[in-house]
């Protein structure tokens, strides 16, 4: 060490030389880090808007299209590019907030896997073609000269609303009676039906901010259910002093469950029993008036004792008493049900039982308010569900669909294998995909028409959950299209309509012209004295168009809001006999599978957005992968450890993933998150994790026919391999080192 002395000066020389050779090696480094003259081009604006200053962003309002909640967004645009999205402060839906999925809409727009060129299937392969060639192919399939019976054409879409829906319906009519199937894996079909039957309207507003206590059955309303951002804003007010109490009953802890004061790990499928038990407890111990309930239900209350219920639901009697006590003493309360509670063979009954708690507690008209349907039914959302997809599959397999127009849904990925979408789609002669990405479904298509991203398109939308007065959300492009050979769905629909009815649609140069004209046609009453141009400009600035005031509640709803049980209530409960299921053990498949809705990847449609892949799951902190969530006691019983690779097998299929141990799950359940396991969805999603939807049984909710997502029983088998889970957050315990001191609430009270 001491034989060769490096003096300070030598050291500097050596490091200097190293630096020089590094600079030599980096001769072709990007020009952006060098000082140079006359290399880069600068191009001035031709004729800029007065308010445009280079380097300073201008914010434009639009509407988020990542889900159907319809949050208002504002996008920062600088030098013609959209750089950042935020919530629109004037939107009554999200009031300036925006969730991570909304933020990640930028990555849809700038995604390197976006389709830039239309494709046609030739000799079994998808070949790049020009837009004109692709549209010519579409024209020969569904145009006036195709000679096709219009009823053999079918739309297969996600939830659609606004003028996009109007134009789809117009196309259906123009071709001669095409059918329209809307598919969403995560849907509220069961809840909507219960709301219609119990409250008299499928549309209800949950006044979370007005409640003092909330009991939610399976509805992850802060993250994946309903209008999550709106609910979260309301939740903030709910938690303000006096602090509201949140009770969450669900088999697998969701983000909402993680925020709850009292979390009830109910056994999957027994949520209805738990609701009835709480009702019985309210009547027995808190003087609730059972005569408010329909007779068929009131008569049954006696069957639900705390003890018998504990054996069924797995929720300790003391916790049920506590929950009932909160609800009774902290009025007004609010009971919400949905999500995993509705996803069973008797989901309708479970949600009804929960709704009856609102009736019993006198919440209807206070914290849960039935509202009229959207005043313009043609624009109202056509909500998707799996029942419609099953109907499509059945019709397709019978050979009754020749052309399928597919937009905004990916059934080849989300549908259970039992539905056999591959066979159904193969039976359709021409499949047309309107899409931004090649996914499992669009890669099976014959004509692939690449769409503008939501940052490049015009549109009007009506939120599936109307939070206040009815309004139409306005979507405007935040920048010019990135690619020359993509078009917006609205423009393409107009082009198809022009083939059929040039007189009516010919005058509209594009979708923008069509929408602008539609807004001109809005009755002057709705514009409240503003000129047409002022109304439009205000709409653009705010990202929404106010339409006429809401209709008063229909009479039936007003009755439901009264204390007495309405006709509607009695009818729904009595006609179905109101039988709640008894939890049955299954020897071969002992555990219930919860395909958990992901607050990051949704039903899988956001798996190609790296921001969401790398954002850790809120409960497990796992990134970029799938996992099997299991209670430590269950794992102990079966002999599994954290990180074990296991095979989760149902009678219909199986997936392999690593075990994540967590006490936030019912001991009779395992949860595998939705969203991963894509076989074709770009570089970020493909070949990553597993897709639990494929292995679901096609058990349906009896009353609505909707797929029961949580009704599949599975067995878990070890594969003998164990690896460390890749997750943020490292250790989950302090290993007895008391890094952060904690005391229990009881101790705190004594202090």
């Amino acid at each position: 060490m001491s034989t060769y002395k490096v003096k300070r000066r030598d050291f500097l020389k050596i490091t200097g030389l190293t630096g020089a050779s590094a600079a030599l090696a980096a001769c072709d480094m990007p020009t952006t880090v060098t000082l140079e003259e006359g290399e880069e081009e600068v191009v001035s604006y031709l004729m800029p808007e007065e308010y445009v200053i280079p380097g300073i962003g201008v914010w434009y309002a639009s509407t988020c299209q990542q889900c159907d909640a319809g949050c208002g967004i504002i996008g920062r645009v600088r030098e013609g590019r959209v750089l950042k999205l935020e919530g629109n402060p004037v939107s009554p839906i999200n009031k300036g907030a925006l969730c991570q999925i909304g933020q990640a809409a930028l990555q849809v727009h700038y995604n390197p896997d976006r389709l830039k060129q239309p494709k046609l299937r030739q000799e079994g392969k998808l070949i790049d073609v020009t837009w004109d060639d692709a549209f010519a192919a579409l024209k020969s399939s569904i145009g006036p000269d195709s000679g096709l019976d219009g009823s053999r054409i079918a739309w297969l879409t996600g939830t659609v609303s606004g003028h996009q829906r109007v134009l789809m319906d117009a196309v259906s009519e123009a071709v001669g009676g095409a059918s329209h199937y809307a598919h969403e894996t995560l849907n509220d079909t069961v809840v909507d039906k219960v709301n219609a039957d119990v409250y008299g309207s499928a549309n209800v507003q949950y006044k979370i901010a007005d409640a003092q206590s909330i009991l939610s059955f399976g509805a992850d309303f802060l993250s994946t259910w309903g209008s999550p951002v709106h609910n979260s804003v309301q939740y903030g007010q709910f938690r303000d002093a006096p602090r509201g109490v949140l009770i969450q009953a669900e088999p697998k802890m969701t983000v909402t469950g993680g925020s709850a004061d009292l979390w009830l790990p109910v056994r999957p499928g027994t949520e209805g029993t738990l609701a009835m038990t709480i009702a019985a407890e309210l009547v027995a111990s808190h003087g609730a008036d059972a005569t408010k309930l329909p007779k068929a239900m009131a008569d049954q209350l006696g069957q639900y004792s705390l003890d018998s219920s504990e054996a069924q639901t797995g929720v300790a009697a003391s916790l049920v008493k506590q929950a009932a006590n909160f609800l009774a003493t902290r009025a007004p309360s609010l009971v919400i049900a949905g999500g995993t509670a509705a996803a069973h063979e008797h989901g309708y009954e479970a949600v009804t039982a929960a709704a009856m708690l609102n009736v019993l507690l006198g919440n209807v008209g206070k914290t849960i308010i039935p509202v009229a349907d959207f005043p313009y039914p043609a624009l109202a959302p056509k909500k998707g569900d799996t029942a419609q997809l099953a109907a499509f599959a059945k019709k397709a397999k019978a050979g009754d669909i020749s052309v399928a127009l597919i937009a905004g849904t990916n059934p080849a990925y989300t549908a259970p294998d039992q539905l056999d979408m591959a066979a159904a789609l193969s039976a359709v002669k021409v499949k047309v995909a309107f899409t931004e990405f090649l996914d499992e479904t669009s890669s099976m298509a014959d004509i692939v028409l690449p769409l503008h991203s939501d940052m490049e398109s015009w549109g009007t939308h009506v939120a599936s959950y109307q939070v206040a007065d009815p309004m139409i959300s306005l979507q405007q492009p935040l920048m010019e299209p990135l690619y020359a050979e993509t078009r917006s769905l609205g423009d393409t629909l107009l082009d198809v309509l022009k083939l059929y009815n040039a007189e009516q649609y010919g005058p509209f140069a594009d979708y923008y012209a069509y929408l602008r004209n539609v807004v001109s046609a809005v009755p002057a009453v709705a514009k409240e004295g503003a000129s047409d141009e002022a109304y439009w400009q205000a709409g653009l600035q705010q990202g929404m168009l106010k339409v006429t005031a809401p209709k008063p509640f229909p009479a039936a709803i007003a009755t439901a809001a009264n204390d007495d049980a309405s006709d509607a209530l009695v009818k729904s409960a009595d006609t179905m006999g109101f039988v709640l299921p008894v939890y049955e053990k299954n020897k071969d498949y002992p555990l219930s599978l919860i395909p958990a809705a992901s607050s990051r990847l949704g039903d899988g449609r956001f798996a190609n957005l790296p921001w969401l892949q790398e954002a850790p799951d809120a409960i497990t902190k796992i990134v970029w992968n799938s996992w099997v969530e299991m209670h430590p006691a269950t794992a102990l019983y079966y002999g599994f450890k954290q990180g074990d690779f296991v095979e989760v097998a149902s009678a219909e299929g199986s997936v392999k993933a690593q075990i994540y141990l967590h006490k936030g799950i019912n001991k009779d359940a395992v949860a595998v998150p939705m969203g991963q396991g894509h076989t074709e969805y770009g570089r970020y999603a493909t070949g990553r994790g597993v897709n639990p939807l494929k292995m679901l049984a096609t058990t349906s909710d009896v009353q609505t026919g909707e797929l029961a997502l949580c009704a599949t029983r599975v067995t878990v088998v070890s594969t003998g391999r164990n690896e460390e889970l890749v997750k943020m957050g490292g250790s989950e315990s302090q290993v007895g080192r008391k890094l952060v001191g904690t005391i229990t609430a009881d101790q705190l009270r004594r202090v």
């Binding site: 006359g38 600068v42 001035s44």
Partner: protein
């Protein structure tokens, strides 16, 4: 108009956006820079001997010079005719300088504001009119460039030396611009005559009590 500080150096002319094309670096750029630095040191010495800057109040002009090359531009824009002969204020055309990070190449519409009537028979103006007719802006070559990790703000400097500077008249803005851009009003197309290196910036910040936090410029 775009700037080296801003990702995505693309045409804004008709808001048409194209993916960014990398520009190949000069292989011997760093050697040239070294030579220029030596040259700059000589120039600094010369500066002390003979330079006679107009006196901007409350300001010590930055020291250092650079012998920038002549850059070929699509139109030989004569700064001398505009700024010297006709005494047009720099900020009349570089209108963004006092409002934002970048000074901005003037929009073509601004050129045409005068040149639909002035000097319409001159070849350079005819060339400009051709661009205008086509609805395009000329593709100028950037003369004063900074690395992307340097955050330079024109607005802040103009406020310090012109607008919030007691005794300074806005009519003499060109004297402040000359701190970093040299006597542009004596040039036709602009040439880089100041080093715009970190030492150049730091010396000036020290002399004029400018901020010395790293993150003021590197963020």
């Amino acid at each position: 108009m775009t700037h080296g500080l801003i990702p995505g150096k693309v045409s804004q002319s008709n808001r048409h956006l194209a993916p960014r094309e990398p520009v190949p670096a000069k292989a011997w750029g760093h050697v040239a820079t070294r030579f220029n630095m030596l040259f700059g040191v000589l120039c600094v010495l010369l500066f002390f001997v003979g330079s006679a800057y107009a006196e901007v109040p409350n300001a010590v002009p930055p020291k250092g010079d650079h012998d920038g090359k002549h850059v070929e531009q699509p139109i030989d824009f004569p700064h001398d005719i505009h700024a010297r002969d006709n005494k047009i204020n720099c900020m009349y055309c570089h209108t963004y300088a006092r409002r934002g990070l970048v000074a901005g190449i003037p929009p073509t519409s601004k050129c045409m504001g005068c040149h639909t009537v002035i000097a319409t028979d001159k070849p350079r103006i005819k060339k400009l009119a051709e661009y205008w007719e086509k609805g395009e802006s000329p593709k100028w070559k950037k003369v004063h460039d900074l690395p992307d990790f340097v955050h330079f703000n024109h607005e802040k400097h103009l406020n310090r030396f012109i607008f919030n500077n007691e005794g300074m008249e806005v009519e003499r803005a060109d004297e402040v611009c000359a701190f970093c851009h040299g006597e542009v009003k004596e040039m036709t197309v602009a040439r880089k005559v100041k080093p715009l290196t970190m030492g150049f910036c730091r010396q000036c910040h020290e002399d004029n009590n400018g901020p010395s936090d790293c993150w003021k410029c590197h963020k």
